[in-house]
């Protein structure tokens, strides 16, 4: 399974789709919901690029436009796209609309209920609730719709359409509805164990189980195996099921090549990006783990494991902080072990890394290696202090680079002094 290649293919599909869509006139655009779903998942995955910028600009102008011209008879798609687009843009600080969007949403929302659901449809309802989850107290119809969603979960009809599982799990997480989230994950896992998940639905189940694997921590190997096999079997090529010839005689051959929905592509890309991150950082290399355990330096090992967990959970600043702490603790331990003295502390009580490295050079650490280790420590420290970066998290690529640098430095140091 080449996740890099799969990610590239998926991004190409989305980019091409966006390019074609944006080149049509604004009034001809008929699938605002599909594109707002693209935007939601692309930003959720932390993907940046020209296509995302173009989508952000389009979403802003589309929201402004729809509020000015009013909803058409496709109000279900339009309103859902509006709410999702608005909340996505707001969450990434890219909302550039001059109209008071939320007032318009408040004004419309109560009129859209059919059978306790928005537009009488579960998927629309989940997306709208998810987008407005921080406004629970301000929206009267929020609770009745949410209760209906919970009834769908109890009766398991939430599972009729697997894409609903993705939105429902995010909704329950955002509302801190632990019991419902646990129930949903339990049912997904039971279906996995009973081998009841149809091929066409596996991506959605894999997404849900992967993103909420912490609820089934003890089942992680099974979940990892499921996600790996699901991704391995994904095909984006045209695919025809083997069918009985009489089916073709009666109903004709399947005339339409396989096409994927925007929700499917978005969910798959998000899964690939997140799973790739895990595979990269799945575990501390064997040599490092074994040596640190042998030396009894579990505190260093703990920092490294915490770094990987933080990376996995998208806490990228925390990951960098754990990496720098792991490296600094190791250097301190090596210094103390070699010199028999406490490590030097800088005024302000942080470890004096340059001073430690200066001493280690006397014990055989090459000059250029010491410089690289010092730079590695600075690199991770710089990215750990997100307050100095205006609260901006480092990118996934920056942090992946930091993980590889730190692990390489630690492996080198352990080899040099303790092999």
């Amino acid at each position: 399974m080449n996740l890099e290649l799969l990610e590239e293919k998926l991004r190409n599909i989305i980019t091409e789709d966006i390019r074609i869509y944006l080149s049509s006139g604004i009034l001809e655009r008929e699938d605002p919901l599909g594109y707002s779903i693209y935007l939601f998942f692309l930003t959720r995955s932390g993907i940046e690029g020209d296509e995302v910028d173009a989508l952000i600009d389009w979403m802003n102008s589309w929201i402004e436009d729809i509020l000015n011209r009013g909803f058409s008879r496709f109000i279900d798609r339009e309103f859902t796209a509006l709410v999702l687009g608005y909340s996505t843009l707001k969450s990434i600080n890219k909302l550039q609309i001059h109209v008071n969007v939320i007032d318009k949403i408040y004004k419309e929302i109560s009129n859209l209920i059919i059978n306790d659901l928005f537009f009488g449809n579960l998927t629309y309802s989940l997306i709208i609730l998810l987008s407005l989850a921080d406004q629970v107290d301000l929206i009267k119809v929020f609770d009745p719709v949410l209760n209906r969603v919970k009834r769908y979960l109890e009766r398991q009809s939430l599972f009729n359409d697997p894409k609903n599982l993705v939105f429902a799990s995010m909704l329950f997480e955002r509302l801190d509805a632990r019991a419902e989230l646990n129930t949903l994950i339990d049912i997904c896992f039971e279906r996995l164990q009973r081998n009841e998940i149809p091929y066409s639905e596996k991506i959605y189940y894999a997404w849900v189980l992967w993103n909420y694997r912490f609820i089934k921590r003890s089942e992680l190997p099974t979940i990892v195996e499921f996600v790996e096999s699901t991704l391995k079997n994904v095909t984006l090529e045209s695919f025809n099921e083997k069918v009985d010839n009489s089916v073709k005689e009666m109903y004709g051959s399947d005339l339409k090549p396989k096409e994927f929905s925007k929700i499917f592509i978005s969910v798959l890309l998000d899964l690939v990006v997140n799973f790739k991150r895990y595979r990269l950082s799945a575990r501390v290399p064997d040599f490092i783990e074994r040596t640190l355990e042998k030396l009894g330096w579990e505190d260093v090992l703990l920092e490294l494991k915490n770094a990987l967990r933080a990376f996995d959970e998208n806490r990228l600043g925390d990951c960098c902080n754990n990496l720098r702490m792991g490296l600094a603790t190791l250097l301190t331990k090596i210094y103390e072990s070699l010199t028999g003295k406490p490590a030097p502390i800088k005024p302000g009580k942080s470890t004096d890394i340059p001073e430690i490295l200066k001493v280690l050079k006397m014990y055989g650490l090459p000059e250029d290696a010491a410089a690289t280790i010092r730079l590695t420590w600075s690199y991770t420290s710089e990215r750990a202090h997100i307050e100095k970066r205006g609260g901006k998290q480092p990118s996934v690529e920056e942090v992946r680079y930091g993980i590889q640098l730190t692990f390489s430095a630690i492996e080198f140091l352990l080899h040099l002094f303790f092999k």
Partner: protein, 435 residues
């Protein structure tokens, strides 16, 4: 005499949409669309089914339901894959014999103790009888159940004889009668807000009443611009033919009011399909009603009939049939359309295509062309939720009217009045119980 005729063809088969919230779930073929994407409406809870059958057939019917749930080679994955729900048998009602009286007795017993809010569909095993006889288990049970708000699905020995191909049609009919929407058109029909399939002089059976003067009922099926069946409405009481215009007025007013409530907009472009030729008085009556209710409107009067002797052939196709989607102009506003000729969407043909003769008249001005109407009618042949067969000759507007006409000819005035009374109508009008 016409020595030659011009024609045209619809190049692309209309696409169908199989997911309300995902516009990419699109396919031109019903079977493959359901197999790949499931139904348009995916929020249906498990379908609560009551089985009514003679004792000796009950096990066969139960087995059939089990197979619908678990799947068959033609319908792999069964209901959960094709319709994203399961069928749950909640009650078995036994019928003592295959006689109509036994069926009536069981049906009356059932409706007297059950609540239609707890049942989605009643599946009834009946003997195969002629459609043109009225005192049969089919019509009697259908009428008794419908008049108390229960949609029903009938199966016969023929269903079991051809079971392999019956599963999916049965599944689709049960799903739609339970209130689900299996599929709709991907694109809106051009320049159409509201589409009506209307019948205003359907004769009703003289059963259970004195006198020989024929009485009639009127009914209308309303579709939206995606060809989605919205509701059925019928005149409250049977009437004599001289009163038909008043009844038409009542029917149309009610349909437009309901459409406005459901869709939250006033329809401007209204298309009415009728399987007879429009009379001047009828057209004027429609115009008067629309003037009263809407003011600003366009209306297209379309008559569609297949009771003509005209046939067309095409020597260029492998079987000599004129391809599906081809049509010949008889004049500016009249065409002959082939809906069952040669096509890639199906291998099996239905013999020489029986062409639909379509006539178009508009008021106050032209807002739709005869070519648009050809595409519209072809699209509507794909919306019969009672079958996944790729070739259906008639548009759903006519098909549904015809189904109800068969029924009205067999049921009594009391049955009709029960079916159309408000407390029953509120349950049945959103479900195509008559298909």
């Amino acid at each position: 005499m016409i020595s030659y005729i011009n024609g045209n063809r619809i190049e692309q088969e209309p696409n169908l949409l199989f997911d309300k919230s995902d516009t990419s779930a699109v396919h031109p073929q019903v079977y493959w669309g359901l197999r790949k994407y499931g139904p348009y409406d995916k929020d249906i809870s498990d379908i609560r089914l009551v089985i009514m059958s003679p004792i000796e057939k009950m096990n066969n019917v139960k087995k059939l339901v089990d197979e619908l749930n678990s799947g068959t080679p033609i319908m792999p994955g069964g209901m959960p894959r094709f319709f994203r729900c399961k069928i749950e048998v909640i009650e078995e009602v036994y019928v003592e014999s295959m006689e109509t009286a036994s069926y009536e007795k069981s049906a009356f017993n059932f409706v007297n103790r059950a609540d239609p809010r707890d049942v989605d569909v009643v599946l009834v095993y009946i003997p195969k009888t002629s459609r043109f006889l009225s005192n049969t288990p089919y019509y009697r049970v259908k009428a008794i159940l419908a008049s108390e708000g229960y949609p029903s699905q009938m199966i016969t020995e023929n269903t079991f004889a051809n079971l392999k191909w019956s599963y999916l049609n049965l599944a689709s009919a049960i799903f739609s009668k339970a209130g689900g929407v299996p599929w709709v058109l991907e694109d809106e029909m051009k320049n159409v807000d509201m589409l009506l399939g209307i019948s205003i002089s359907s004769v009703i059976s003289k059963r259970n009443r004195a006198g020989n003067v024929p009485r009639y009922v009127g009914y209308v099926n309303v579709f939206d611009s995606f060809g989605k069946w919205m509701f059925f409405d019928g005149t409250a009481k049977p009437y004599e033919k001289s009163k038909r215009l008043e009844q038409l007025k009542e029917l149309l007013s009610a349909a437009i009011s309901r459409f406005k409530i459901e869709k939250k907009f006033d329809p401007k472009n209204i298309v009415i399909h009728y399987y007879k030729r429009w009379g001047e008085q009828e057209k004027q009556c429609v115009i008067d009603v629309l003037n009263d209710i809407l003011g600003d409107f366009n209306v297209a009067f379309i008559s569609i009939d297949d009771s003509h002797p005209l046939r067309l052939y095409d020597m260029a196709t492998p079987d000599g049939s004129i391809p599906r989607g081809c049509y010949a102009y008889l004049n500016k506003n009249e065409i002959l359309l082939s809906t069952t000729g040669y096509t890639e969407i199906a291998s099996r043909r239905m013999g020489t295509p029986k062409l639909l003769r379509i006539r178009l008249e508009q008021y106050p001005e032209e807002f739709i062309s005869i070519d648009d109407v050809a595409f519209q009618v072809l699209s509507l042949t794909k919306l019969n939720w009672a079958t996944v067969t790729p070739l259906v000759r008639e548009p759903v507007t006519l098909l549904f009217s015809r189904e109800i006409a068969y029924l009205t000819a067999a049921i009594s005035e009391q049955d009709w009045m029960s079916i159309t009374r408000p407390e029953v109508n509120v349950i049945l009008n959103k479900r195509p119980w008559f298909i």
